[in-house]
């Protein structure tokens, strides 16, 4: 018997290449996520001037009434947005998953809305529809003699955000409901339970994890959002305060960093809380070949009610889009239910003046998407297919970007890279590449999950079969992994692209000149002045169409490739 180590079976050449890949991805995450975010936190805890560690900045924060009010307002707006989003989402989720309902496809499609239009785009249109002198209140006044304060102050932010983000709850709860095996329900029926009791005691608890995940996501998104409150002229919230502090007082003022640190802390806490509450409750119960809950037919009365709810919510959800469309064609729209006249002039102006925005957006979003695909693909391969030490850290680091709001990342980049200059003296922060990197880092967690999911679908034995027949690691990736992952990579790219195309918060911090600005920034600038609203709306419509078309086309491509691979029938 020979005592001989067999450990070095794995080829050394492939091994060192993987280590290199890991180091490169690690360096990217360190430079463009961890160090900027870490810098922000570090500055928040250091004394201005001396650089000594201190809590004095946080004490200052607590002594400032404006900041305290901002914190309370942000928490209130986020919580109320979750409540209203739940009111919109839960009936739709139950109606579409538990009953045979014709409109299910349309409702599920709503899930894409937050992807293709950021909430601030619709905010101005919402003012015109629901504001004090908006369409709805004019009608209410005319017929009932009342006006409702939909859009007054914080109400406006809550209204816009909950209408915008409720699909996150809808999708998560629907998925949870669909994953409940029909036998769960049948077992309860078999033991004598039925109707609302069955729903309350069996179905709802099983769907709870999905609800919590969606609710936490909505809370964090609303808490971090900068552009919507700014556009609605609500500045006493945390994210706008951070932005205003840094842009008006400057990078050396510690308060901006304190607020940024609090934003990170709240994001982390909300996500931790949702995970902690769900621990040990992984309720996916669908057995192999199981088909989820049984759907039953609606009785006529229920059907009327169900369609009523759905139509009402649909109208609400589509109102910003409808409003935006009307606004983009309106010559004058003020103190009237509908525009007084229609024109194509806004589109003419936007296409003439603002094609630079569109071009910049395409370049930024597609480059960011590409970066995410490369880095996400790399991380997924390292985590799922190698045993390298520390590979999980890459995953964790990339996912940590979820907890870093755009405004914080922007501040972090400014602070970290402001002093870094090119040989000709220009600061790194003045280059558009910084915007691209910020977009890429912010979107990486979403792209990564899409790519991860795609890679998990590929059985390892497909790769082992290739190695068995003579293909080394690199050839196996080239001939088996990449072709099979094409759909997943594309899905990752689209996730990144679509959301990066309309992201504003990090961009707002980093933008240096109008010539480097993407659509979202142009929209924001237009929407600032009443005269710019028409062209702004036209630009918004173009942005929505752009993202919608790209999303749709790639969706078709992905479906087709899945089908041709036989992964989906």
């Amino acid at each position: 018997m020979t005592d001989m180590s067999m450990a070095p079976v794995k080829a050394r050449k492939g091994f060192s290449g993987l280590v290199l890949l890991m180091l490169a991805i690690g360096a990217f995450l360190l430079l463009f996520l961890l160090i900027p975010a870490g810098t922000v936190i570090y500055v928040a805890f250091t004394e201005k001037g001396t650089g000594a560690l201190t809590l004095v900045n946080f004490l200052d924060f607590l002594e400032n009434d404006l900041f305290k009010r901002s914190f309370v307002n942000s928490a209130y707006v986020s919580a109320m947005s979750v409540v209203w989003a739940s009111v919109f989402a839960l009936p739709l989720a139950v109606i579409t998953t538990r009953f045979e309902f014709r409109g299910s496809v349309i409702i599920q499609t709503l899930g894409f809305l937050p992807l293709i239009m950021p909430p601030f785009v619709g905010a101005v249109a919402m003012l015109l529809l629901f504001g004090r002198n908006g369409t709805v209140n004019l009608w209410l006044d005319q017929f009932f003699g009342i006006k409702l304060p939909f859009m007054e102050g914080l109400n406006g932010v809550i209204f816009v955000q909950s209408l915008h983000y409720f699909p996150f709850i809808l999708i998560n709860v629907s998925n949870s409901l669909r994953q409940i095996d029909v036998s769960m329900e049948e077992a309860a029926q078999n033991l004598g339970s039925s109707g609302f009791r069955l729903f309350r005691k069996i179905v709802f608890p099983l769907a709870m994890p999905g609800y919590l995940a969606g609710a936490a996501l909505v809370f964090v998104k609303v808490f971090d959002d900068l552009a919507t409150p700014l556009l609605l002229n609500v500045t006493d919230m945390l994210a706008p305060q951070a932005y205003l502090r840094v842009t008006s007082i400057g990078l050396s003022d510690p308060m901006g960093y304190v607020i940024a640190t609090i934003l990170i802390a709240v994001s982390v806490f909300a996500m931790w809380a949702s995970v902690a509450l769900m621990r040990g409750r992984d309720y996916a119960t669908v057995q192999r070949g199981g088909g989820g809950l049984a759907k039953r037919k609606l009785k006529p009365r229920e059907a009327v009610l169900a369609y009523g709810v759905v139509v009402f919510v649909l109208l609400l959800v589509l109102s910003p889009h409808i409003g935006l469309l009307l606004l983009s064609f309106a010559s004058i729209w003020s103190f009237s239910a509908l525009p007084d006249g229609y024109t194509m002039a806004h589109y003419g102006r936007v296409i003439g003046e603002s094609s630079i925005y569109i071009k910049n957006t395409l370049i930024y979003a597609s480059t960011a998407g590409l970066i995410d695909v490369v880095i996400g693909g790399g991380i997924a391969y390292l985590v799922l297919r190698t045993k390298l030490f520390g590979r999980q850290w890459l995953d964790w680091a990339a996912t940590a970007a979820l907890a870093v709001p755009g405004v914080v990342l922007g501040i972090g980049y400014l602070r970290t890279f402001y002093g870094v200059t090119l040989p000709n003296g220009t600061s790194l922060t003045s280059l558009p590449i910084m915007i691209i990197l910020a977009l890429a880092v912010r979107r990486l967690p979403y792209a990564l999950r899409a790519i991860f999911a795609a890679m998990q679908q590929i059985s390892v034995s497909l790769e082992e079969a290739a190695e068995n027949l003579g293909a080394n690691k690199a050839r196996t990736v080239q001939r088996i992994v990449l072709p099979l992952m094409l759909g997943g990579l594309l899905a990752g790219f689209v996730t990144s692209f679509a959301t990066a195309a309309v992201e504003l918060s990090a961009t707002l911090m980093l933008i240096q000149s109008n010539n480097d600005a993407p659509i979202a920034y142009g929209l924001y600038m237009f929407m600032q002045s009443p005269a710019g609203r028409g062209p702004g709306a036209a630009l918004g419509v173009i942005a929505v169409l752009l993202v919608a078309i790209c999303t749709f086309v790639s969706h078709v491509v992905i479906e087709r490739s899945q089908k041709s691979l036989g992964l989906k029938k």
């Binding site: 497909l462 068995n468 080394n472 041709s564 691979l565």
Partner: protein
């Protein structure tokens, strides 16, 4: 191309497989323990055992997908211990078949030859030959998802043998087929293996598969090889209690031996005394083992041991009737040939049977 020439184009000299002193650890868990094995050229050799026994681990070790803590893997004259999978020429057919869904049948089969940089004409010729060999030429342009399970299995086999591997590894090749196909395909695999003269390892947890087509079997349990031998030898002379109970049905009676020489008595834990044959070798801690069908209603020899008890349950197996007897606190299974319904006893009846001393085995763990 005819089948005969297809075969001759693929035949290579049969190679032996030698496993020497292999130990495999997953962290602190030792999943293979001191494995030594010599598989002869041209043999169809089964790794048989329950799931989690280490048989697939050893197969994957031979293919190079995992590394051992100690030990060597030698195929023919080549020590493959430190060779990466793609340089081993050890053909493996995966349990899931692992056909690439983005390639047609033809492309799947051509893959290994393309990786070997053969000229296109040669690749086409050999792919056609392999397709003919498994009777899949007419489906060459289909995608794997358009094939039935049996067809996918043929493609997986063709894809592996087309590279003319030194040896063939089959990982539970029949487990994804329905019962009827299994019987047919196992014979096809045996014929193909004989025609190619290819040394083949066949991993299975199904003793019938191993018994029917394999030359020799290694029985695995708990990361160790329990016994290696021809199917009939393993059944007739199991080396230990595990092999006896894993291959077929066996009665295992606990008790202890007293006395010496011709007067040895085995007393069961419920105090039934059974005489031990004078020439029987009884290892320490041994239990009495015998097959249910070795008992009969009348003694064949004068010194047959009489076993009697109350019938607890009756199972009708078709050709035989299986009685579960209570003999004291011990439970015995007795199988008697079925002749007619009125000869079958009833629950609660006393059944008296006779067991030849030659059928009594004394085995320890």
């Amino acid at each position: 191309m005819t089948k005969v020439s297809a075969v001759s184009a693929m035949r290579i000299d049969p190679q032996a497989i030698t496993i020497e002193g292999v130990n495999v650890h997953y962290g602190a868990l030792r999943v293979l323990k001191d494995i030594n094995l010599e598989i002869k050229p041209g043999e169809l050799f089964a790794f048989l055992g329950p799931s989690g026994c280490g048989k697939t681990t050893l197969l994957r070790l031979i293919a190079g997908f995992l590394s051992a803590t100690t030990g060597r893997v030698v195929v023919g004259n080549a020590d493959l211990t430190n060779t990466p999978p793609w340089k081993r020429d050890v053909g493996m057919v995966f349990q899931s078949y692992a056909l690439w869904p983005h390639m047609t049948v033809r492309k799947n089969i051509a893959f290994g030859l393309e990786e070997r940089r053969l000229p296109r004409a040669e690749i086409d010729k050999r792919v056609d030959a392999a397709l003919d060999l498994v009777g899949m030429r007419h489906l060459a342009d289909r995608r794997p998802s358009q094939l039935s399970g049996g067809q996918q299995q043929r493609v997986a086999v063709a894809r592996t043998i087309v590279i003319r591997p030194k040896v063939l590894l089959l990982d539970e090749p029949l487990s994804n087929l329905d019962a009827k196909m299994r019987v047919q395909v196992r014979q096809e695999l045996r014929e193909l293996q004989l025609r190619l003269g290819l040394t083949t390892i066949f991993v299975t947890h199904d003793q019938e598969e191993a018994n029917t087509i394999c030359d020799r079997i290694a029985v695995f349990s708990d990361g160790e090889i329990q016994q290696v031998g021809k199917p009939m030898d393993l059944y007739a002379n199991p080396a230990n209690l595990f092999v006896a109970s894993f291959l077929g049905t066996a009665n295992i009676i606990e008790g202890s031996v007293s006395g010496i020489g011709a007067n040895r008595i085995f007393t069961t834990s419920s105090s039934v005394a059974i005489p031990v044959a004078e020439n029987a070798v009884v290892p320490p801690g041994a239990k009495l083992v015998f097959r249910p069908q070795h008992c009969s209603l009348t003694p064949a020899n004068p010194d047959d041991v009489r076993l009697s008890g109350t019938i607890n349950t009756i199972e009708f197996l078709g050709a035989a009737v299986r009685y579960e007897l209570k003999m004291g606190a011990d439970s015995l299974l007795i199988e008697l040939p079925f002749q007619s319904a009125d000869m079958v006893k009833k629950e609660g009846d006393i059944l008296e049977t006779y067991l030849p001393r030659s059928a009594m085995l004394w085995l320890a763990d």
